[in-house]
């Protein structure tokens, strides 16, 4: 349990004057409607989860579902109304102002939806800003910032002002700035939502490339389910401040916990998300076809091969041991099943 970098225990965030008192009176039974009648807005409702080192947790939900509020609680940009938050075992809510600043200067980086660059500073100055604020010498800061500029592929534009850059480029600056202090924990609040679809895809790929290299602990926020599927190790789906389900993409697609989650999963091309293991049946003594597939293959990649067989196909693990079987009809059912029910 100690390797959890971020750990939340029943975190609540309620906006309003009497929030704290009302939360105590509610005894852990917070209902958004009754609170709203009394003039309080429930931002986050009883969130408990952990993010372990090097993991990327994507928080997904429609606009207004409390994603940003949750993230703000964890970065303590706002104080949670109730619950406990631990960052690498440290109780976040008990930190003093000074300690909090130290934590942000060394451990945390954050990227914002609207880029939030300082308009009066150049690209280079913006990226060097967290270092300068921290007290790093100007020359070292600039050198480090220059490395970051190269990392996000903005070489040659380091002396531009944010207003002279396109949205995608501005967000690259935002990313570079958040990485300048080499934080362990990386928060991204809808970083690509303000970008055009093509640029967004490009940035997502770039982001994955970076993460491959940097292996940060990440909380990534998005309202786009496809983006969540593409990036996440695990996904938390939020609605009205409540985390409806928190699981791996495949499990969410296969077993949506609530009607709400199910709606998102229906449109999802499953063959792109699921791996063989997710759909295989128990090993049987039936005679199998000659083909064998690994249990970690994504269905899309092996579907054609399996569909060309008539008999069930054996599924093997790393040691080439048979752990299950897949019948071609199962593949057909998985790929088209969900959407057929829908139409």
């Amino acid at each position: 349990m100690t390797d959890a970098v971020i750990k939340c225990e029943s975190v609540y965030k309620i906006f309003g004057v009497n929030a704290k008192k009302m939360l105590e009176e509610a005894n852990g039974n917070v209902d958004a409607k009754t609170f709203q009648e009394k003039g309080c807005i429930v931002g986050v409702n009883n969130a408990s989860f952990e993010v372990s080192k090097g993991e990327m947790l994507v928080v997904m939900g429609l606009s207004g579902s409390g994603k940003s509020t949750l993230l703000r609680c964890i970065s303590r940009l706002t104080d949670a109304t109730g619950g406990k938050i631990f960052i690498e075992g440290q109780d976040l809510l008990s930190l003093k102002e000074k300690e909090l600043i130290e934590l942000r200067r060394n451990k945390m980086g954050m990227v914002f939806q609207s880029f939030a660059l300082l308009p009066h500073k150049t690209v280079l100055e913006n990226i060097a800003f967290p270092l300068l604020v921290k007290g790093v010498e100007t020359e070292n800061s600039i050198n480090k910032a220059m490395d970051m500029v190269k990392l996000v592929g903005l070489d040659g534009r380091e002396n531009y002002f944010p207003r002279e850059l396109s949205g995608g480029q501005q967000q690259r600056v935002g990313i570079a700035r958040s990485l300048a202090v080499e934080p362990d924990i990386w928060f991204l609040d809808e970083p690509f939502s303000a970008l055009d679809p093509l640029i967004r895809k490009e940035m997502q790929d770039e982001f994955l490339r970076l993460q491959e290299k940097l292996k940060k602990t990440i909380m990534f926020i998005t309202h786009d389910f496809d983006e969540a599927l593409k990036l996440a190790d695990r996904i938390a789906i939020m609605k009205d401040g409540i985390i409806e389900q928190l699981d791996t993409p495949a499990k969410i697609v296969l077993n949506p916990a609530t009607e709400y989650v199910k709606k998102f999963t229906e449109e999802v091309p499953r063959e792109k998300v699921l791996i063989i293991e997710d759909v295989m049946d128990a090993p049987t003594s039936d005679n199998l076809s000659n083909l064998k597939v690994s249990k970690d293959e994504i269905i899309e990649n092996v579907a054609e091969k399996i569909l060309s067989q008539e008999k069930s196909v054996g599924v093997v693990d790393k040691n080439n041991k048979i752990v299950g079987t897949v019948h071609p009809s199962k593949i057909i059912h998985t790929v088209f099943g969900g959407r057929k029910e829908n139409s």
């Binding site: 942000r104 200067r105 954050m110 660059l117 300082l118 009066h120």
Partner: protein, 717 residues
Amino acid sequence: MELLKKYPKLFQWLFLLVVFFALCFAIDVPETYKFIRGQAEFIKDPNQSTYILFGKEVRYYAFDNFWRLPPLLGWLPIWINDGLFFLLNEWMPMEFWDSATQEYKTRPLVLQISRNITAFMTFLIELIREILLGGVETIVAFTSWNFVSAYPWAKLPGLPWTIVAAGAAILAYKLSGKGLAIFAGLVMIYISVFGQWKPSMQTLSFILVAAPLSFIFGLSLGVMAYKSKRVEKALYPILLVMQTMPQYAVLVPAMVLFGIGDHAAVIITMVVAIPPMILLTLLGLRGVSPEVIEAGKMSGCSNWQLLTEVLIPTARRDILIGVNQVIMVCFSMAVISAFIGAKGLGWNLLLALNQLNIGLALEAGLCISLIAILLDKMSLAWANKQTDYFGNLTFYQRYKNTIFFGGAVVVGMILALAGSFFFKEGFNYLYEVPHNKGISTADFWNKGVDWIFDTFFVYIKAFNTWLITEVLQPMRALYLRMPAVATLVLVVGAGYIIGGIRSAFTVGGLTLFIALSPWWDRALVTTYMATFGVIVSCTIGFVVGTLCQQNTYTTKFMLGICDIFQTFPSFVYLIPVMMLFGVTDTSVLIAVIVYATIPATRYTIEGLRSVPVALHDAATMSGVTKLQRLFKIEFPLAFPHMMLGLNQTIVFALFMVIIGAFIGTEDLGQYILKALSDKAGGGKGLVLGICVAFIGLIFDNLIRTWVEKRKKHLGID
């Protein structure tokens, strides 16, 4: 009934007007009523009624209460005055160390504080003044008069004008570039050659103290108001009143507290210049997007870093407008505070105006305006300057401005030294061109004025007479003919129709205050002049603005003109009108019109510009003509913004009307001017100022409320 449902507001207005006029006709002018001329109020007259409140006797002419309300607030100025006197002379006596006599002295606290502030301000001003002009006061401040008389060499020599001019040009170059450098150099040379060096430097030293102090205080208070709701709530009403308070009116109470001289002028200037700075700082900080603030916090900023590195730079646009305002107010005050003994160009300007020496006034006015424009441009350039600290500069590049300035100092000294040998008759023109030894164009202008008068006298006179007898007198009579009750009903009704109960109470309260003060008649005259000015200004501004807006070049040109005109201190406007129309109401009104047309034009242009381009295109695509587009789309959409211009126009007009007292009007301004020379004028000046401020606030409240509603209705923000 159908119509009534369709235009409910229209009928409300009609009803209000009917009631208003009915009241006007129903209430007769009392036979004994007459407009009280300037001196009459001091005459003890058996016809006057009196009442005594808080031990103060208030005398007044009683009329039917429907016609004029009794001045129930008449004790207020007296009371404020006594309060000030008490604070200054009796409250909280304490022991203070007097370094001059080397012993403890008993002094009231406020007096001591005021003395200390005075000493501090005087020191600052003298320091800068003596760096520029030379003198002994700074050294005296550190030593004593004995020391200075014992050692005649112990004084600041003052810089030769050549060095100051070069310094200004180099500074301008560093801040902005060649263009501004040339302008700075020319301005300085002009000032020197035309013999205005000494008064100009006196004014400059005053401004170099007042402007930075106002900026610092305004910025800090603005930040405090941003951080704490309570500070903001406490400041807000004061700010509102100060925004519409004529600068003139603050002079009197400040004079009571701080005496007369440059230091008092600096303090007054700060009092006037700080409120807009606070408001604009607050506006700017409020506008910083929350995500930028969060980004700053996540970058690990401490509170101080967040403020200085993120909040203030990001809010720079509005803060800069604040700086611009501070500079404008400072120059305006540089003239006005000549009334309480500030030295410099303002003093010369007032003196010249008093002697009707238009030529001299023009020269002084031109100098002030030039310096104002220069400082304005420099401060803008300073704030927009980018630090390029990554470039690899050579030693020469890095320090070239310093090197050049050093060179200029050496050359200037040598020139001054050479000059002392060359010019034998005692004036060293290369050191400082004495005040009356420069080139003067005053004669030329005075001759010009005379010529204009001789040539056009008949026409000007005819126009003047026509305007006064046919337009102004009747209009004034109409305003004075309004019974107080009718006016109250009109204002409260308008407030109710526009903004509901809340607005009605606010404007009603403000009006009641004026009605209960001893100066209701005067307030009506002020309002009449302001109204006349505003109507004409708005018409001109609206037409000119709309025409100019049709083309990008004319738009730019016009906005540039507005910028420059706005930088002129308000008093400067009196010069040309006095030149043409002499000392009459017409002069004041024309100055009012010229001055108030600036915001009217500017806001018309900006209002029209604020109409979204998409709408523009959509209209063009649907095939409407240019004129249709203007009337059906652009005007309605730009109207809220233009109304804010009306707001400014009213404030500008009011200020100018009050300043017009200098030419001799019979309104509140006349009394403010009189309070200046009145020993017990502090309270009077303040209450008069508040009356003027309230007139402004009544319109301000109505217009703002209307604009808010309208904006909501149109769905723009």
